[in-house]
């Protein structure tokens, strides 16, 4: 054997890497799943012509005025039928004519209904003879970078970095503990730090592959933009992966059974799947939740990735998310080294 083969850190890393590659389920979740998700959501939310909004009107005059607009699909119905249609969501708005006045019934918490209200009112007013004092023209554009898929890909990347790091470390460490392999390892002369370092090194090799696969796919198929420096993006990904590895290590540091570690993992990851802005902006959550939402490591990770890819912000101007990530890396790592159970 040559010198490299005799290096325990090298052997531990290679072993860890081989074991990951020999786990077909892991390969699916790390590589195939995010691509399928991106493909599915990219198709579902592809840019289409603006939606046609269904509306109802109680008089023929109103229905005629509304039918003139291509953005609306107007149906004439009596008030009772219209109320039912509103309640079941078949129409977004019901215009009830009453002599020279009109009443709009709609749900003002539904953005589409509010849009329908604005369009319908304008059309009815114009049909009744209103003249706009300012002449307006529209110029339509569909720019790369403002589509949903552009927003989604950094979110999926962040989610994938979290999942693969936490599952990758957490499950295999607890599995080794349950099978008494950890105990056997510390009964050998192996330096303990190398065992954990090998997990991180193997993780970084996997990281390079999985980031290139996911982003390469997004670029080839959807032409997702890369506006910031690619080196910055690589650094952000490494930091994210180390942060979630530290969290995975913490979750796995005491658990003795796979059931226990699965429960803990879901407990830690679930709030982030929901609140950290993978699929929609975290600003949708109410103000009192914002400090919590913004402090989550996945929120910081995705915000840094979006800042780089979509807005081209250099690292130096994203200190807040980077500091949050660093804190989530350092503290769990220090704690888990202290409480780690080797047997």
């Amino acid at each position: 054997m040559n010198r490299l083969e005799l290096s325990s850190l090298y052997q531990l890393t290679v072993t860890r890497f081989k074991l990951t590659l020999r786990e077909p389920e892991a390969i699916f979740w790390i590589f195939v799943f995010p691509i399928l998700l991106a493909l599915g959501l990219g198709i579902a939310f592809r840019n289409r012509p603006a939606d046609v909004l269904p509306v109802g009107a109680t008089t023929p005059q109103l229905a005629q005025a509304l039918a003139a607009n291509k953005g609306l699909r107007a149906m004439e119905m009596d008030e009772a039928a219209g109320t039912r249609a509103l309640a079941t969501g078949n129409i977004l708005l019901l215009a009830v004519g009453n002599g020279n006045s009109v009443v709009y019934r709609y749900d003002d918490t539904n953005p589409d209904a509010r849009t329908a209200r604005m369009i319908a009112d304008r059309d009815i007013q114009i049909a009744a003879g209103r003249h706009d004092p300012v002449e307006a023209q529209n110029q339509l554009m569909h720019e790369t970078g403002s589509r949903y898929i552009d927003f989604l890909v950094p979110g999926l990347l962040g989610m994938n970095l979290m999942g693969s790091a936490m599952w990758g470390l957490g499950f295999s460490i607890v599995d080794a503990r349950a099978k008494k392999l950890l105990k056997r390892m510390v009964a050998s002369p192996m330096p303990r730090w190398q065992y954990l370092a090998a997990y991180l090194l193997a993780r970084l090799i996997m990281l390079a592959i999985e980031v290139v696969v996911l982003l390469g796919f997004a670029w080839v198929v959807f032409r997702v933009p890369f506006r910031g420096p690619v080196a910055d993006l690589a650094l952000i990904c490494v930091l994210c992966s180390l942060t979630f590895s530290a969290l995975g290590l913490l979750v796995a540091s005491r658990a003795r059974t796979m059931e226990a570690v699965s429960g803990l993992m879901n407990l830690v990851m679930m709030p982030m799947w929901i609140m950290s802005g993978v699929f929609f902006s975290p600003s949708r959550f109410p103000a009192f939740l914002q400090p919590f939402v913004q402090a989550l490591p996945l929120t910081a990770a995705i915000s840094a990735i979006r800042g780089n890819m979509l807005q081209g912000i250099p690292l130096g101007h994203m200190m807040t998310p980077l500091a949050i990530l660093l804190a989530w890396c350092a503290v769990p790592f220090a704690v888990s080294l202290r409480i780690f159970r080797w047997r």
């Binding site: 054997m1 072993t15 786990e23 056997r184 192996m190």
Partner: protein, 355 residues
Amino acid sequence: MVDRVRDRVDADPDVALGNTGKAAVRIRGLHKAFGDVRAVDGIDLEVGAGECFGLLGPNGAGKTTTIEICEGLTPPDAGTVELLGRSWQRDADELRQLIGIQLQETQFPEKLTVEEVLRLFRSFYRRGMTLDEAIALAQLEEKRQARVGGLSGGQKQRVAMATALVGDPELLFLDEPTTGLDPQARRHVWDLVERLKLAGRTIILTTHYMEEAERLCDRVAIMDHGRVIALGTPKELIAMVGGEDIVEFAVGLKATADASTTLAAKNAANSARDDSSGRGQGVVNVETLKAIPGVQSHRVDEALHQLSVSELHTAVPRIFAALEEQGLHLSEFRTHSATLEDVFVRLTGRNLRDE
């Protein structure tokens, strides 16, 4: 007899050491409790260099705790352990390089090959065997490229032994190396241990199989409830029973189909005094039996009488005659050479496997 063996150890440890006077392992006043359970309750042992030493006892006797304290995996509550003249407090890193360990129930990653597991463990040691040597020693040549998950129990155990051997250790700890293996796989592991003995390695193994300790160990410490209750070579310990052979019999009044009860079958005709089946219906006059020349001791366990006997060939006819005189007939009768099992029974009044 127990006391005599132990006194000798206490007085002059070197006398009791196996091949040489140099101790590879020196254990003094070892105690370890888990909660209320005193797993190890005051153990002193010395193991000589080149010796194969066995810790024998039932489950829960404290064998594994003792060996894991020696391996530096469990800190003792009190007492000292010295391995190869070194201690875990001062020389842990050096000791890890010098000893080989096989633990109970380690499961190596199923998706690694035998060679990959051994290459990994070899990389932990500064010096040691080549992979080829370790694989040849454990007779795993044919399984070299096979994944651990596809191996039999005996083959997995030999992988575990090979991971203990790759560092070419001076001192080897084997914790229940054959538990759970079928007889053929067990003999295979025994062959391996015997080769290691021939190569002059010091081996400490735990087992609850008597025959394993008798076959492999130069000396045996019998443990029970965290203490060493007897210590010596298998021959010395067996001699403590008092006779070289054990006669077991039961008296009943209805013949059984046991192959060894030909006499009982002969007597079946004139023995129908009691219709109830099973052992122990007749009352045996123990003093008469003990008076027979060659009978050393008697005990009875669930109506099965056990005599330890020297001069088996003259004693057995007299035992038959005595029982006949008492109007009893035999429902079971067998003899075997005294084993460590009999030593354990003699010392504790319990069978090793009564757990």
